[in-house]
């Protein structure tokens, strides 16, 4: 049986009817067409489906919509504003941090979660913050570099690269 949920996704109020057991991941992808959120295991082991809830990275495969009705949900589709990419997205694209791109939305949101609390993270803090997101393509190094570049730019320091 479906229930009506009132969700705040990427700054918009959205109503969606779904069975209570349908996870946020499924509702985003299957009911709302927000397929930018990917899935790699659906049991909390890979980080691919990471979204932000009230600014914190969480796994949408383990979230029920009924539990986030009073929260701000941000998905990858909500990271860029008015056609302008978020500095993290710019840096990921520029530095080759996305190879196959499948884990990328999860990494971007986890990184955004980090930068919202820590404006100038150390390499070690980046590693720690991204430790729940698996990537099989990059070996993570380009991802670190992209996070560092975005962090600099967000503080108004644009290094000449």
């Amino acid at each position: 049986m479906k229930q009506l949920f009132h969700l705040q996704i990427n700054g918009e109020g959205i109503q969606v009817a779904a069975p209570v057991q349908k996870t946020l991941l499924e509702v985003l992808r299957e009911d709302l067409g927000l397929t930018g959120t990917k899935h790699g295991c659906e049991v909390g082991e890979c980080g691919t489906c990471t979204v932000l809830i009230d600014g914190k990275p969480v796994l949408s495969c383990l979230m029920l919509p009924v539990e986030c009705q009073d929260c701000e949900i941000v998905t990858i589709e909500g990271m860029s504003l008015a056609g302008r990419l978020h500095p993290l997205q710019e840096a990921f694209a520029e530095l080759g941090a996305a190879q196959c791109g499948y884990c990328t939305p999860g990494f971007l949101l986890a990184a955004r979660g980090l930068l919202e609390g820590t404006a100038a993270p150390s390499r070690s803090e980046i590693e720690q913050a991204l430790a729940g997101n698996l990537c099989r393509c990059t070996g993570y190094l380009k991802i670190y570099e992209a996070v560092e570049l975005a962090a600099l730019r967000m503080r108004g320091l644009d290094p000449v690269t």
Binding site: P19, V20, Q21, K22, T23, L25, E26, H39, C41, E42, V43, G44, E45, G47, T50, I53, K56, P57, V58, L59, C61, L62, M63, L64, V66, E67, A110, G113, Q128, A129, L130, A131, G132, N133
Partner: protein, 333 residues
Amino acid sequence: MLRLPSFDYFQPATTEEVAAILHAEAPACAVVSGGTDLFPKMKRRQLAPRTLISLRRLGALHRVAGEPEEGIVIGARVTLAELERNPMLCSRYPAVAAAARAISSPPLRNAGTIGGNLCVDTRCTYYDQTYEWRKAIDFCMKKDGHVCWVAPSSPRCWAVASSDLAPVMIALGAKVRLLSKQGDRLIPAAELYRNDGIEFLSKRPDELLTEIHLPAVSTDLMVYKKLRRRGAIDFPILGVAIWLRPSAAERSVIEQGRIAITAVASYPFEVEAARKLFRGARLNCEVIEQAAEAAWKRAKPLDNTDLDMSWRKEMVRVFTRRALQELSDNLCG
């Protein structure tokens, strides 16, 4: 995509309501807070509660209160991320923060809670699998079957205790509050656990774990050391928690101390022999070696988690020794 089975969902506003629903529905119901343990297990059809009771609206359980000098009360809904970042816990109960930080990965710690971790289901590579996988081995006694495949001649289940926080609570001598319609009770954390892979908690199905009471600390020392294959995501395959209270008169003398270990049996347990060893002792090489030996003796890892079981048993000695050496450095330094 793995999906959840259907269930009835309640979001009560008070602990009394929770207790009432538990009373009516247990054992075919489950309490959900972070969902990081429950949902994967439901998706794999290891657990199939008819009713889910969410703790989401219980703000009272989402608090850390008290002072280290008198003891601290942590609500069951406090997330692992909140624990690891709590300045008071970091400075005065560092093993609690360290154990929380060692759990899984950042997004899971943002959702997972202390109550959930203390009640985390026991794990086993024959059990933590999908329905179809378990069918292929003809199921195991923890779910849908009759045999414990780790020890097929054994009458009991040998699934492994996998909470990182539990050994810390046991070593600290923390207590947990359990609430039910019959009232509530405060029991030592050590008594929360039973040495059985299936009935691994003494908490009754109609009881709710509401609070964790940490004892007062002054100059106490504590440490948590975790063994796992990777630097993140993995459950412990060994966790050693040690708490030492130096004598007020002479800091290099231990007044009291406890070692608790996890992931080497179906329950986290205290190494009792160490308690006797520590009382009034100085933490010299000999005491450290004896304590490590005592811990090693108690550990009975089996072949149902990651890496080689005899190697894991050896690591109990190494990790206990190293944890004690670290504390010894602190005592002297």
